[in-house]
């Protein structure tokens, strides 16, 4: 185990999770301790933050994230979130958080009807979350997306609450922070790439910050996301 001042970040592996190892690596690279968690257990192993990683949990059969949302560990995640613990869902993890009712809205098939894997620019909309505290609203970061069902949609009421409550965390944009269809990889409503809950401790992102921390293999826009998450986890650890 690392020294007691190191934030412990749990990454849940569901059957069909794919970016779980990658998320653990990103945590370690950014100075945290990555803790593997298993979907069928009811134990968060005293972690200070939880990541629901990307992938195709249960093959995305039925509906993306629908089966994983009922995994035994999800009751613990809900309780952890209720206590204010930092929770980040990435891609399939975002879909699971929506299915579990921890975030509003849903993710449906990309407007192109095709899977898309590419680097995109994200405009920071709020610093009031556990993954953007190190960022400034209006700033843009470079992060990859890779999904077939990443088009964010919500009912009119939900959307109004999301927009009026400042719950949008990132929007797809140009490098200069201008939104537009050309910069939106999946047709997401209002170019929404990620949202938060009211308290700001639960965040879902379609883009993959864990694939944007190591400069040898990609862009570096995810470093600030992980730095923020580790800082939040640290605060939770009382350090």
């Amino acid at each position: 185990m690392n020294d007691p001042g190191t934030p412990r970040v749990g990454v849940i592996t569901f059957p069909g999770s794919l970016d779980d190892r990658d998320a653990l690596d990103a945590v370690e690279l950014m100075g945290g301790e990555g803790v593997p968690l298993w979907h069928a257990e009811r134990d968060l192993r005293s972690v200070h933050a939880v990541i629901l990683p990307g992938g195709f949990s249960h093959g995305d059969y039925l509906r993306c994230g629908a089966i994983a949302a009922h995994a035994p560990i999800m009751a613990e995640v809900a309780a952890f979130a209720e206590r204010g613990g930092p929770v980040l869902g990435i891609c399939n993890g975002f879909q699971i958080l929506c299915e579990a009712g921890l975030l509003a809205g849903a993710l449906i098939r990309n407007r192109s009807l095709r899977f898309v894997c590419r680097d995109v620019w994200l405009r920071v909309e709020t610093a009031a979350t556990v993954v953007t505290s190190d960022l400034t609203p209006g700033e843009t970061i470079r992060v990859p997306v890779k999904h077939g069902e990443g088009q964010f949609v919500a009912t009119g009421d939900q959307l109004a609450r999301i927009e009026e409550g400042g719950l949008v965390v990132f929007r797809y944009s140009s490098q200069d922070g201008v939104t537009g269809e050309d910069h939106n990889p999946n047709g997401a409503t209002h170019h929404i790439a990620g949202i938060r809950n009211e308290a700001g401790n639960v965040v879902g992102l379609m883009p993959h910050p864990e694939h944007a921390v190591d400069p040898d293999v990609g862009p570096t826009g995810g470093q600030a996301v992980f730095a923020s998450l580790l800082a939040s986890a640290m605060a939770g650890a009382g350090a």
Binding site: P15, L18, F56, D60, F115, K146, H211, D216
Partner: protein, 727 residues
Amino acid sequence: MHRELGLIDEELEAIVERLGRAPTREELAMYAAMWSEHCSYKSSKVHLRTLPTEGNAVLVGPGQDAGAVDIGDGLAVVFKMESHSHPSAIEPYQGAATGVGGIVRDIISMGARPVALLDPLMFGPLTQERNRWLMAGVVAGIGGYGNCIGVPTVGGEVRFADPHSANPTVDVMCVGIAPADRLVTAASHTPQAGSLMVLYGASTGLDGIGGVSVLASATLDGSAEASRPSVQIGDPFAEKLLIEASLELVEKGLLEGLQDLGGAGITCAVSESAARAGLGAELDLDRVPLRDPAMEAFEILTSESQERMLAIVPPSKLEEARAVCRHWGLASAVIAELVEGETLTVHHHGDEVAAVPARSLADEGPVYERPVAAPDRSNGDDPTFRPFEGEIREAFLAILSSPDVASKRWVFEQYDSIVQGQTVAAAGSDAAVVRVPGTMKGIALSCDGKGRFGALDPYLGAAHAVAESARNVAVTGARPLAITNCLNFGNPERPRVMWEFAEAIRGIRDACVALETPVTGGNVSFYNETGESVIWPTPVIGMLGLLDDHRLRVPTAFPRAGLAIYVLGETLAELGGSEFSATVWNSVAGRPPVLNLVEERALLDALQAMASEALLASAHDCADGGLAIALAECAIEGGHGFAVRIGGDLPPHVALFSESASRAIVSVAPEHEAALAERGARHGVPCTRLGETGGPRAVFDGLFEVSVAELVDVYEGAIPRLLGETA
């Protein structure tokens, strides 16, 4: 009955002689599957034996599920390529998807974790709606399966030619990494009599019956639609669980053997495992988990249901092995036991339905030395000497937008190329580069086929494919180590096709010997013809290279302005089989470029030397479309223009578009120019300065110029426009 199963009369006689009696229905089905072209390599074996298969780094050569190469640090790279062309022609999504699944299981069965996929694809022209449908389905199938199992798809190629309208070529390569001492090989794992064969993964159903004998080992004809039930259905979620469970079984040391179930299903896995161990086996079909309890014995024996593996486990470790399967949510069942002797006996509903020597199925299939006959025809007038009176700028833009050359973004963005977090370079690089976790090393991977060259000269086409794949790896700074291949041809029963095959093998052999890249395995795909339409002889080479330090990887594109641009190698007057001739004159004619393997080897060595000293700012293979297109690609990917002057005595269109082999475009910082020239001279590689990088335009001094923005629009927009989508 035997003919319906694909066996000829002589083969039936051989079976009767081997058994000393007439085979049962079940035995006949087993022989038909195992002696099919797909499983037995009966037409290709005599030729494949002539390939060089040994080298210092080769740990496992041909004959196992995949080849393995030592990359140092106690690690092995396992790799193999296979085709799934026939099923993809009938049902493109599932055909391609299950192709991915099958090759991934080949890698798992060696005990290696799959770390990369590459997909060389060939279709008919996109102007035809059916070809657009096939490409969309194949690409979606590769993505749908590959993206769901967490293995990045990092490369491949997409090419277009008329002969592939009736017979698209869908090849799939998978690469894995394992500790060398944990490889599951015949040498390292010795199954004992009394050990148990555990079938785990998906249950067995009626899908894919006769896949190898009916689909893969005969030409497609008007009844292709009726073959659709022979195409299997993939379940990538099950495959992902299969990967994790299999690797855990290997890591925990619970296995004496591991075999994937692919072509010929249980028959193949059980007979090969027993034959390899020098043992017999008792197989009880009543213990096979079935989707349909009414399945007959021959169906259970030959079903090609996907996502199944066979583990050989000593009885003492059975419970632990089954617990691993349970943890991953996979069903498992003991279906057979290894026994002394050589007989594979099969029971169904209490009756003995088959009793044959395991070896006779796995190793003693027929071997044919089929007649060969060179075609009696000329290649037509060589376009090299045809006068060109058109606008050279227009020709340049036409070639840049030809589907073979243009950006394949539409394809590769549908693949997850970054999962596992080790992808240093993927699409847009001549070779994909993937880090080796726990080391500073990187493996470089490229797949290359040269259809047009092969059509004109199958020997040269094959040799060029090897050379180009080695060059693609070497421009990244990597050392080419070894190849796998997928050999795509027509009907081997026709002497013309068999001649093409023999010539191609000769070309691969000569190139691999000269470049010291042994053949570690591969796959033969025959019968790629329909009626009068036969594919060009197209061996696709999968090259593995090694970078000792991935941080020294040389990028493909111009990284900045102010660099000197050089071409390494010599440009001759060679437009035979070129992209220029195909695009501008709609003609595939003449003689392909010569290939001097000594010069090629010198270029590869020079590139590695220059890269290891960090002299190169970029390096790009110069091939399809020649010098002009290679320069354009460097500008497009890098976003930096250039100004070059092409000297020499060749007519401008020949100088710009000749496809002479053994060349590369490099850019270097001014302070490294002297060193570059010195290294070039030392290796005997001509280095010719062409100009400098920089500015918003691609300037061919004295000829024409194009803005980089226009280059990007033409290059990126071509395929979306052909598909009716705006760029």
